[in-house]
């Protein structure tokens, strides 16, 4: 999986300032940094406020001989109790309000944003572009977006909970099965930024990576055309090979006979497989088609029933392509 290796080697460009945070890639991320640095510096102040006196008292009032008594037994002072109860409340109120305003900003979807649909599944992201009628998917998928436009993601999951995390944009949102959640951003910087899955989802959770590629508008248009053309020019077998990668069949099925989570595709076409029910079926065009669309109907014996359904994600020609591809693996 070279795309993955390449992805892991990519850098979140780190801001020079203190080397603390990764580069902000949107106006919002800049606002975020102000809150974060405010918390960091005031937090450091608070820390010193308790630790410096502690060290000082330890040194100053250190017991020097066994029978040394305390200098006083003073054990209360209402005034000071009131101060250290209410002063923190004022500080926390500032933190709360600032954070709340930022949160409103993240969670209020802007009007007229460009809508992308995101589908999470074990263990890759699919992003559909309704306006352009294209989609990208697979581990390491490149999600192109135009610079300076509001982008809204409408997200759902095929299986378990995932979470779409864009560190450079300082946003994340859980992606749930059976309901839509939304997220938006407006990329101010051109560049490539990683996408992580932040909600634990099983074996390859940490490989559930993609990247957002922010491009100026004209470059973006060219990118869209590139994807359209590439798909038209492929032979069915080539299309299948591509889908094998991009739809992540590769995470569960090998093509060299080695074992992964599911059976290898090598030489499987035309053989007979045993279902969990004990029935025998011939692996032919119809079987593959059914199994890809509704895998739970015909689970193969001896494997965990974890294959997701690809219903609605594959066009007729995609399915044909996959079948031709599997057929070709003798």
């Amino acid at each position: 999986m070279d795309s993955l290796k390449e992805l892991l080697a990519m850098k979140l460009p780190v801001l020079s300032e203190w080397g603390w945070m990764s580069n902000p890639a949107s106006g919002y991320a800049n606002d975020f940094n102000s809150v974060f640095y405010f918390l960091m510096w005031t937090g450091l102040g608070l820390f010193l406020l308790v630790v410096v006196p502690m060290v000082w008292f330890v040194i100053k009032y250190r017991r020097k001989h066994e029978s040394q008594k305390a200098l006083s037994q003073n054990d209360h002072n209402i005034k000071i109790e009131v101060i250290w109860t209410f002063l923190p409340i004022a500080y926390l109120a500032v933190c709360f309000i600032w954070g709340f305003l930022g949160y409103l900003n993240v969670s209020t979807m802007p009007m007229g944003a460009k809508n992308l649909r995101v589908i999470g599944q074990k263990w890759n992201w699919t992003v559909q572009y309704p306006d352009e009628d294209i989609s990208v998917s697979g581990q390491g998928a490149v999600i192109g977006v135009p610079q300076g436009e509001n982008i809204q993601l409408t997200m759902s999951s095929q299986d378990v909970i995932h979470s779409f995390f864009l560190p450079n944009f300082r946003i994340k949102q859980d992606v749930l099965p059976g309901r839509y959640t939304t997220l938006w951003f407006n990329a101010s910087e051109v560049g490539e930024f990683p996408v992580f899955c932040a909600e634990y989802c099983g074996d390859s959770h940490s490989n559930m990576l993609a990247k957002v590629k922010v491009m100026p508008k004209d470059e973006y248009n060219a990118w869209v055309d590139g994807i359209k053309n590439a798909n038209n020019k492929l032979s069915p077998k080539e299309l299948g090979a591509k889908l094998y990668q991009s739809k992540a069949c590769v995470t569960c099925h090998s093509i060299d006979g080695s074992a992964r989570i599911g059976p290898s595709f090598k030489g499987v076409y035309g053989t007979t497989s045993e279902l969990a029910s004990g029935a025998k079926v011939k692996v032919d065009d119809n079987f593959i088609r059914d199994h890809v669309l509704t895998p739970t109907k015909t689970p193969i014996k001896g494997y965990p029933p974890v294959m997701p359904s690809f219903q609605g994600q594959l066009s007729e020609s995609d399915i044909n392509g996959l079948i031709e591809f599997i057929k070709s693996l003798k």
């Binding site: 008292f57 009032y61 008594k69 003073n74 109790e81 926390l92 560190p167 990683p194 992580f196």
Partner: protein, 527 residues
């Protein structure tokens, strides 16, 4: 009445005298031994995990094994170590002594809760035989209804352990109400008792919710009734609400006893009346109450509504206030004291520094939009380790060292005790501080594989974890060695002023006190 020279350790001999004992002190020691065993096991898993993370991708194990190990590490440390931790061991040993009671209110229930704990532990380990669980200790749905392995067994174990926790809490609450010595008014109780009492309230009120949640999960997995899994028509976010409704209060089941120990240590080792007794006592109760109202802060990005997120953020900040109050009062206690740096105090000072960091980074996470970025990253991992290990566990170690002479009649080596406390603090910061940096930069948690750029942070963290592990092992060896070679402990080595020091033998007799103590003043009157 016990003859001179007899104490609770040597009055009866043989396996049965321990296995069937109703003595709260012996039960406390049995808990202590079991908890330390699981601590070492959970710690070993942690070191394996850290070793795996030395390099991205495969280092010593595959992804599946890694996921199973972090689940085990979390589940063991939470359910078998930190939740029972201080209350079941130190609380059992010291609470009745501090109150001037002969035993807890229900000694048989106390023994039963120990065996329930053992049963829970066995069932938890039994899940390893069926197939190790890889859900994470949080069992999030629908993942945990779809993955294989002994999820049902592991969940059953947590369910069983819940009962042990409820019984212990109940016992302490009744003991505190009913068995105080004559003259021991509420405000003459040591603050340790207040802390354990507040913990007891949470234990009996929150744990049943966990039990119900886990039961529902089992029902869903086994009978396929749709509760949490959307495929069956359920709601996965509902599971998170249920789960955190228990598990956030559980955070206070973990930290309140730690704070309770620290109140004792700071006062005794400063030989000064505790500053702000009532504010500290009330802040424990406030924390117990507030802890029920903040569970939603674990779910700011789960898809819950913005209004709900806002309310939980406000409530979460309120929790910071009582914690701060305690810190400031401890500081004021040291002011003008006679501060001794004996080993228990070193643990307490370590607590002070680490818990301060844990608390302050908690504020980051309470700030709504900052949490959106930091949620489920290493920042959170670092934060809760600072609170749970840097806070609770440091206090636990401090408490063990503090009461060790009373438990065993032996003094340990000051040098090795101090050296291991320092080593733990150094190792701890090495391990976890870099995790704040990684997390802020976006390194998600529960990642087997990671971007190359994080390698150096992970390596520092791993080296730190070896130092940390060594520190803890040294601390335990120091104690064990003292059993053999330690000097005989005097009756009151730290000049404590609470009943367990002033009114008992060097090692207490089976019924604790030779005559009923009568209390005429507070627990912090040093002279």
């Amino acid at each position: 009445m016990s003859a001179p020279g007899k104490n609770y350790l040597n009055c009866k001999k043989g396996f049965a005298s321990w296995a069937l004992t109703l003595d709260h002190k012996r039960i406390g020691l049995m808990y202590l031994g079991s908890i330390m065993f699981f601590f070492l096991l959970g710690g070993l898993f942690a070191l394996l995990l850290r070793t795996e993370l030395l390099s991205p991708g495969h280092t010593i194990m595959d992804a599946k094994r890694y996921n199973q190990l972090f689940t085990l590490h979390g589940a063991i440390m939470v359910f078998l170590v930190i939740i029972p931790g201080i209350p079941a061991s130190l609380g059992n040993f010291a609470l009745p002594l501090m109150l001037g009671a002969k035993d807890v209110a229900f000694p048989r229930l106390n023994l039963l809760s120990y065996y329930i704990y053992v049963l829970g532990a066995i069932v938890a380990l039994g899940s390893l035989i069926v197939g190790a669980v890889d859900t994470g200790w949080t069992f999030y749905m629908p993942y945990s209804s779809t993955t294989d392995g002994g999820v049902v067994l592991m969940v059953t174990a947590a369910f069983i352990l819940g009962f042990s926790s409820i019984f212990t809490g109940l016992n302490f609450i009744v003991t505190t109400h009913k068995l105080r010595a004559p003259g021991m008014s509420w405000y003459r109780m040591p603050l340790f008792v207040w802390g354990i009492y507040a913990t007891g309230i949470i234990q009996i009120m929150a744990t049943p919710v966990l039990a119900i949640t886990l039961l529902l999960l089992i029902v869903e997995r086994v009978v396929k009734v749709g509760i949490f899994d959307p495929v069956l028509g359920g709601d996965p976010v509902l599971f998170q609400h249920f789960f955190w409704f228990y598990s956030h209060p559980a955070v206070y089941i973990m930290i309140l006893p730690g704070m309770a120990v620290i109140s004792e240590l700071i006062a005794v080792f400063s030989q000064k009346r505790i500053f702000g007794y009532k504010p500290i006592a009330y802040s424990s109760i406030a924390l117990a109450v507030l802890s029920f109202l903040v569970w939603g802060h674990h779910m700011f990005v789960s898809g819950q509504s913005e209004l709900v997120g806002m309310i939980f953020s406000v409530l979460t900040f309120l929790v910071a206030v009582p914690s701060g109050v305690k810190m400031f009062n401890w500081l004021a206690t040291m002011h003008q004291g006679s501060v001794s740096l004996k080993t228990p105090m070193l643990w307490a000072l370590g607590f002070f520094v680490l818990f301060a960091i844990g608390g302050i980074t908690g504020v980051f996470l309470g700030v709504l939009n900052v949490d959106v970025h930091l949620h489920d990253t290493y920042f959170v991992v670092a934060h809760f380790h600072y609170v749970m290990v840097g806070g609770t566990f440091m206090a636990f170690m401090g408490g063990i060292y503090y009461w060790w002479p009373k438990m065993t009649g032996k003094m340990y080596s000051e040098f090795w005790g101090a050296a291991s406390a320092i080593m733990v603090v150094v190792g701890f910061n090495l391990t976890f501080f870099v995790q704040f940096l990684m997390g802020a930069q976006g390194m998600p948690r529960r990642y087997y594989n990671y971007l190359d750029q994080f390698t150096i942070y992970h390596q520092i963290s791993t080296v730190g974890s070896y130092v940390l592990g060594l520190g803890f092992v040294m601390a335990l060896i120091t104690l064990l060695v003292s059993l053999k070679n330690g000097k005989t402990a005097p009756k009151n080595p730290w000049h404590g002023a609470s009943l367990e020091w002033t009114h008992t033998d060097a090692v207490p007799i089976e019924t604790n006190f030779r005559e009923q103590p009568v209390v005429t003043e507070g627990p912090y009157e040093y002279r």
